[in-house]
C-alpha cells in the first residue's frame, strides 16, 4: 500500500513493450471541427504525446461532456465515453475510483466544466481522484453557436448578450487552487512543445491534474488569445512558470511588493535577487493563487506553466486502502455469514 501511496501518476497502469506511434492513437473517425479550430492542434499534440507514456492503449480512457471539445474521444483509438453536459468529472470519478489500473482523461470546455458542471469539477479537484482534466478554454460557447461563457470577459457582445455580458468571469486557475487542487497548470494550443511539457507533468502527477488550455475558436471568438501568439509581444507578456526558476518574461519580472502582494515590474529595473523564484511544490497555495491573479488586466502579462503541484494521496488509492484494511481486519466477505449475522432464530 505504501507503494500505491507513493506511486507516481501512472505507476498502476500497465505498460507495453510494443513501439507506439501517433498513428496508433488515431481512430478511423473523420475529425469534424471547424477548419482552423484550435482543437486540431490540441488533438495532434495529445496523439503525438501518448506514445511517449508507453501505456497499453486499452488502459487509456478519455471521458468528455458536451461541447466542441467533447468530441475529442471519438478521434482517439482508446476507450472513450462521450457523456452529457458537465458530468464528465463525475463519470470519470466512478471509473477511476474503481479502476486504478486505468489512465483516465477528462476532456472539457469552459462552459462544460465551469458552468453546467462547475460542481463536479470542484469536487473532483478536492477529492484528488487520479484524473487528467484538460479544460479547453475558448471563452465562448461554440457548439450552441456563440453565446458568452463563464470565462468571457465582462461586456462581451454575443447573440445572448447584445448589450454586453454582465457577469464577472471565472479565472479557472484561481478556482482550481481554491478548490484544493493538487495540480494546476495553464498552457496554450499554439505552443505544442509547452503543451506537451505540461501534459508530461500532469500525467506524472498522481491525483487530479487540471490543465487549462487556451484554445482559439476561430468562428465565434477569434483571436481571443492573440497577444500570447503574436511574435511582436508574446515574449514580453508571457511569464514562464518553471519550478526553481525566477518568474520572468523577456522584459518583465515578478517581485513581491512592499505590501506583500505580487507585482510585475520591468526586468531591467530589479536585481536577480528580488525576482520571485517559482516553487510549484509549496504546500501553501497563497503564492500560486497570487500568480493566478496576474493576468489582469488582460494580456498585460500572463503566467503560463505549472502553478501548483503538491503530493497528496489520491482518492482511488485511499478507497482501495479502506477495502484492503477491511479485509485484513475482518477477512473477506462471506454472504452466508452476512445474512446469518443478525439476531436469528430457528423454527422447526
Amino acid at each position: 500500500m505504501t507503494e500505491l501511496l507513493n506511486g507516481k501518476g501512472l505507476s498502476l497502469v500497465p505498460k507495453t513493450d510494443a513501439k507506439q506511434s501517433l498513428k496508433d492513437f488515431k481512430s478511423d473517425q473523420e475529425v469534424r471541427w471547424c477548419p482552423g479550430c484550435g482543437d486540431y492542434a490540441i488533438l495532434a499534440a495529445v496523439q503525438s504525446f501518448l506514445p511517449e507514456l508507453g501505456l497499453r492503449r486499452e488502459n487509456i480512457v478519455f471521458v468528455s461532456g458536451i461541447g466542441c471539445s467533447s468530441r475529442f474521444p471519438y478521434y482517439l483509438n482508446t476507450y472513450g465515453f462521450h457523456s452529457i453536459h458537465g458530468r464528465a468529472p463525475a463519470i470519470a470519478t466512478g471509473l477511476a475510483a474503481s479502476r486504478p489500473d486505468l489512465s483516465v482523461w477528462v476532456i472539457t470546455g469552459d462552459g462544460d466544466a465551469l458552468s453546467i458542471g462547475g460542481n463536479h469539477l470542484i469536487h473532483a479537484l478536492r477529492r484528488n481522484v487520479n484524473l487528467n482534466i484538460l479544460l479547453f478554454n475558448n471563452r465562448i460557447y461554440g457548439l450552441t453557436k456563440g453565446q458568452y461563457s463563464p470565462t468571457s470577459e465582462v461586456g462581451k457582445i454575443t447573440k445572448s448578450t447584445p448589450m454586453g455580458s454582465l457577469d464577472k468571469p471565472f479565472n479557472p486557475i484561481s478556482l482550481a487552487i481554491g478548490a484544493e487542487a493538487s495540480f494546476v497548470a495553464r498552457t496554450i494550443d499554439s505552443d505544442r512543445k509547452h503543451l506537451q511539457s505540461v501534459l508530461r507533468e500532469a500525467t506524472a502527477h498522481r491525483g487530479t491534474s487540471l490543465v487549462e488550455i487556451y484554445q482559439n475558436c476561430n468562428i465565434f471568438n477569434d483571436n481571443a488569445f492573440e497577444p500570447l501568439k503574436d511574435p511582436e509581444v508574446r515574449d514580453d507578456i508571457t511569464l514562464r512558470l518553471e519550478h526553481g526558476q525566477p518568474i520572468v518574461s523577456a522584459t518583465k519580472a515578478v517581485v513581491r511588493g512592499d505590501d506583500g502582494a505580487l507585482a510585475v515590474v520591468p526586468r531591467a529595473e530589479v536585481g536577480e535577487e528580488r525576482i520571485l523564484v517559482h516553487d510549484a511544490h509549496n504546500p501553501d497555495p497563497s503564492v500560486a493563487f497570487a500568480l493566478s491573479r496576474l493576468d489582469e488586466p488582460a494580456f498585460e502579462h500572463v503566467p503560463i506553466g505549472v502553478f501548483r503541484q503538491v503530493e497528496r494521496p489520491a482518492y482511488d488509492v485511499l478507497m482501495a486502502e479502506q477495502l484492503e484494511e477491511s479485509v485484513a481486519q475482518q477477512g473477506p466477505g462471506d454472504l452466508s455469514d452476512l445474512l446469518m449475522g443478525g439476531d436469528t432464530w430457528r423454527i422447526g
Binding site: 481512430s27 473517425q29 497499453r56 492503449r57 486499452e58 488502459n59 487509456i60 480512457v61 471521458v63 458536451i66 474521444p73 471519438y74 483509438n77 482508446t78 476507450y79 472513450g80 465515453f81 462521450h82 457523456s83 452529457i84 458530468r87 463525475a90 463519470i91 470519470a92 470519478t93 466512478g94 471509473l95 477511476a96 475510483a97 474503481s98 479502476r99 489500473d101 486505468l102 460542481n119 463536479h120 469536487h123 478507497m319 479502506q322 477495502l323 484494511e325 477491511s326 479485509v327 481486519q329 475482518q330 477477512g331 473477506p332 466477505g333 454472504l335 452466508s336 452476512l338 445474512l339 446469518m340 443478525g342 439476531d343 436469528t344 432464530w345 430457528r346 423454527i347 422447526g348
Partner: protein, 614 residues
C-alpha cells in the same frame, strides 16, 4: 398476588412520544424480543422529518407500531390495541386511531399544565371523562424511573432519559416478552458508559417489576409463537434487505459493487449499510450531488462494476439525464428509488407510490427502462437481485421502486440458502465480433438484443460510446433517419423482450368475479383484506405485479378473465393508467395519498363494495 394471564392471537402496540424520547429504539427492542419469542410480526415506524421538533408539540411526535401474532400476518395492523403515550402530544396525535376499549398507558408526569397547553388541551384529559371509552393506565413513568435510579451516579436529566426503558420493561411484562436480549443489547450499546448501561437495565427491570406488583395491571397477555415455515429467521427492514440484496447481487454477478449516492430520506440507510461492508469489495461513494452519484455509478459500470445509485423521488428527477445516457450507451445500472410523498420535497418520511410514471417515462426521448417493485420489506432482498439480473443480462438501467413503508417497516425473514441464489453472472466480451478482427460495440445478441460489454483494459476492443445516436452495429455517430428509427425500436424491443415470470393469480376456487391487483408495498394490506373477504365467505381473486416494465406476458389475459378489476394504489391511479392504456380494461381505481399504507379493513370494505355492485 397471582395475576390473570389471558391468551390472545394477536396484538397491535403503538409506542408514541416526543422525537427525543427514544420511541424508535423502544419499538426496535420490543420487536427484537418478539422476534426471538417466535411470533410473526410486522412493524411501522412513523416519525417526523425534523430531527428534534420542539419538545412536547404535535409535529414532534414519533411513533412505532408493532403487530405480532401467533399466525402469519401481512401488515403492521390497522388500529392499535395498546397505545403507550409518553406525553399529551403523543396522546392527542394518536387517539384518533384507537378503537374503543383499547388500552392507553400514559406517562402522567408529562401531563403538566404547560404541556397540555402546548397541544391545546384546555383540561387534563386524564382528569375529565374524555377518555372514558378507553382503558387508561396512568403511570408516573418519569418519576418512577428517577426513583428506581436513585442509587446511581446520574443527573436527574440522565435518569429521566431512561423512562423509555421503564416503559419497555412494563410492556415486556405485560406481553411476556423475553428480557435477556434487551439486557445484553443495553450492555453492548453502552459498553463505554457502564453507569448508563446499568441505569437503563435497572429502569427496564423496574418497569417489569412495576407490572408484576402494581394493581393497575391485573391481567397480562400471552401470544403464542407462530407456526411459520421451518428455517432460520431474522427480523429485517426493507432498506437493510435491499442493501443485502445488492451485496448478494454483486456476489452472484461476480462483479464488484460500486454505489454512487447522495444522502436523502428515506434511502440513506442503504448507503450507510453498504458502506459497512467494504470487505465484499464494495466501494461506496458519497457524491457531491444526486447527478454525480448516478454519474459515478455509470462510470464504474463502464469499467465493469455493478453500478448502483440509491435515492428517493427528488433524486430520480435529478438523475434522469444520466439514466437516459445509460439507456443509450446500454450499460448495466441500478437506480433504487425509495419513494416518498411528493411533489417536490413533499413529506420526506411518509410513504407513497407516486414515482411509477416518472420511472416509466421521466426522461427525454424514447428511453424505456425496466421496473421492478418489491412487495414486502424482506422481498427487497430478492427484488434487488432481480433488478441486477436484468441490468447485467440486458445491459440496461433498471429502476427498483421501493418506498418509505417498505424501507423502514420490518418483518421476520426466512433466510435463503446462499447456494440457492441465482447465478446472474455474464461474461465480458473479450474477442472481436466483426469481420477482420473488428469490434462492433452495438452488434447485438440475437436472443436478448443485449450489446457486448467490453471493458477498458481489454486489448483490441477499444471503442467509443456516448449519448449521440449510434449507427446500428458499429456504434459510430449517426444522424441517418432510418438508423435512428431502427435504434429506437431496437432499444424498445430489448426491454419488451426481457424474460419476466408470468403473473400468478390467487383464486382458490377459480370462480371469483372480481380481481384485486396491486404492485409494490400494497401487497400486505391487499392480501390481508382478501383474507377477510374470504373468511366471510366472499370470493375475490388476487394478483400482484412485481415487474412493472415489461409487464408479465399473461397480464392482459388475466385482467380480461374477471368481470371487474380493482386496483388500489397510493397515488392517483398511475398503474391503472398504464393498464387501461395497454389492455383497454376498465380498471376500478382506489386511491388514497395520505403518506400512510392502506389499512386492511379499509380495503376489505372497498373490495366488498366492488363485489356487491353490479
Amino acid at each position: 398476588m397471582t395475576k390473570q394471564v389471558q391468551q390472545l392471537d394477536r396484538v397491535i402496540i403503538r409506542f408514541a412520544g416526543d422525537s427525543g424520547d427514544g420511541m424508535q429504539l423502544t419499538g426496535d427492542r420490543f420487536t427484537a424480543g418478539t422476534a426471538e419469542f417466535g411470533n410473526d410480526l410486522s412493524t411501522l415506524p412513523n416519525f417526523p422529518a425534523e430531527i428534534r421538533a420542539p419538545a412536547g408539540t404535535l409535529p414532534g411526535v414519533s411513533s412505532f407500531q408493532l403487530h405480532f401474532a401467533d399466525h402469519d400476518i401481512l401488515t403492521p395492523g390497522d388500529a392499535p390495541n395498546v397505545l403507550v403515550a409518553m406525553n399529551p402530544a403523543a396522546l392527542k396525535a394518536n387517539l384518533g386511531d384507537l378503537p374503543r376499549g383499547a388500552d392507553i398507558i400514559v406517562n402522567t408526569d408529562e401531563f403538566t399544565k404547560r404541556n397540555l397547553q402546548k397541544v391545546g388541551y384546555e383540561t387534563n384529559p386524564l382528569e375529565d371523562d374524555s377518555l372514558a371509552e378507553w382503558r387508561v393506565h396512568a403511570v408516573a413513568l418519569t418519576s418512577l424511573t428517577v426513583k428506581a435510579l436513585e442509587g446511581f451516579d446520574l443527573s436527574k436529566k440522565d435518569a429521566e432519559r431512561s423512562k423509555n426503558m421503564f416503559a419497555l420493561g412494563l410492556l415486556s411484562w405485560l406481553y411476556h416478552r423475553p428480557t435477556e436480549h434487551t439486557i445484553s443489547f443495553l450492555q453492548q450499546k453502552f459498553a463505554k458508559k457502564p453507569e448508563i448501561a446499568k441505569a437503563n437495565i435497572a429502569a427496564f427491570q423496574a418497569g417489569w417489576n412495576y407490572g408484576e406488583t402494581t394493581e393497575s395491571f391485573s391481567v397480562s397477555y400471552e401470544v403464542k409463537p407462530a407456526k411459520l415455515a421451518p428455517g432460520v429467521y431474522r427480523n429485517i427492514s426493507g432498506n437493510q434487505a435491499l442493501a443485502y440484496g445488492l451485496i448478494a447481487a454483486s456476489v452472484q454477478a461476480k462483479l464488484p459493487l460500486f454505489l454512487g449516492s447522495y444522502p436523502i430520506t428515506p434511502a440513506s440507510d442503504i448507503l450507510h449499510e453498504l458502506s459497512r461492508h467494504k470487505r465484499f469489495g464494495i466501494r461506496t461513494f458519497q457524491a457531491e450531488d444526486e447527478i454525480a452519484g448516478v454519474g459515478a455509478a455509470l462510470g464504474a459500470a463502464f469499467g465493469g462494476a455493478l453500478g448502483v445509485t440509491t435515492t428517493s423521488g427528488p433524486g430520480v428527477a435529478l438523475k434522469a439525464e444520466t439514466v437516459g445516457l445509460a439507456v443509450t450507451t446500454e450499460l448495466p445500472l441500478i437506480i433504487v428509488d425509495v419513494q416518498r410523498a411528493g411533489p417536490s420535497t413533499g413529506m420526506p418520511t411518509k410513504t407513497e407510490q407516486t414515482d411509477l410514471l416518472m420511472a416509466m417515462f421521466g426522461r427525454n426521448g424514447e428511453s424505456p427502462v425496466p421496473i421492478v417493485a418489491p412487495m414486502s420489506p424482506s422481498d427487497c432482498f430478492d427484488a434487488a437481485i432481480e433488478a441486477a439480473r436484468i441490468a447485467v443480462k440486458y445491459r440496461t438501467p433498471v429502476m427498483l421502486l421501493s418506498d418509505g413503508y417498505l424501507a423502514n417497516g420490518s418483518e421476520p425473514w426466512r433466510l435463503p440458502e446462499v447456494a440457492d441464489l441465482p447465478d446472474i453472472s455474464q461474461e465480458f466480451t473479450t474477442e472481436p465480433n466483426g469481420e477482420d478482427g473488428a469490434f462492433l460495440p452495438y452488434r447485438r445478441d440475437a436472443d436478448t438484443l443485449a450489446r457486448p460489454w467490453a471493458i477498458p483494459g481489454t486489448a483490441g476492443l477499444e471503442h467509443r460510446i456516448g449519448g449521440i445516436e449510434k449507427a446500428d452495429g458499429t456504434g459510430n455517430i449517426s444522424y441517418d433517419p432510418g438508423n435512428h428509427d431502427r435504434m429506437v425500436r431496437l432499444r424498445a424491443a430489448k426491454i419488451d423482450g426481457i424474460d419476466v415470470p408470468d403473473l400468478a393469480v390467487d383464486d382458490p376456487d377459480g370462480d371469483a368475479k372480481v380481481l384485486v391487483i396491486g404492485w409494490g408495498s400494497t401487497y400486505g394490506p391487499i392480501a390481508a383484506a382478501v383474507r377477510r373477504i374470504r373468511k366471510d365467505g366472499g370470493k375475490v381473486a388476487q394478483a400482484h405485479l412485481r415487474h412493472l416494465n415489461p409487464l408479465p406476458a399473461n397480464t392482459g389475459e388475466i385482467l380480461k378473465r374477471y368481470d371487474k378489476v380493482l386496483l388500489p394504489e397510493i397515488n392517483l391511479g398511475q398503474l391503472a393508467l398504464l393498464l387501461r392504456a395497454r389492455f383497454l380494461v376498465d380498471i376500478i381505481s382506489y386511491n388514497r395519498v395520505r403518506g400512510l399504507p392502506f389499512k386492511a379493513e379499509e380495503l376489505a370494505g372497498v373490495i366488498q363494495d366492488v363485489i356487491d355492485s353490479d
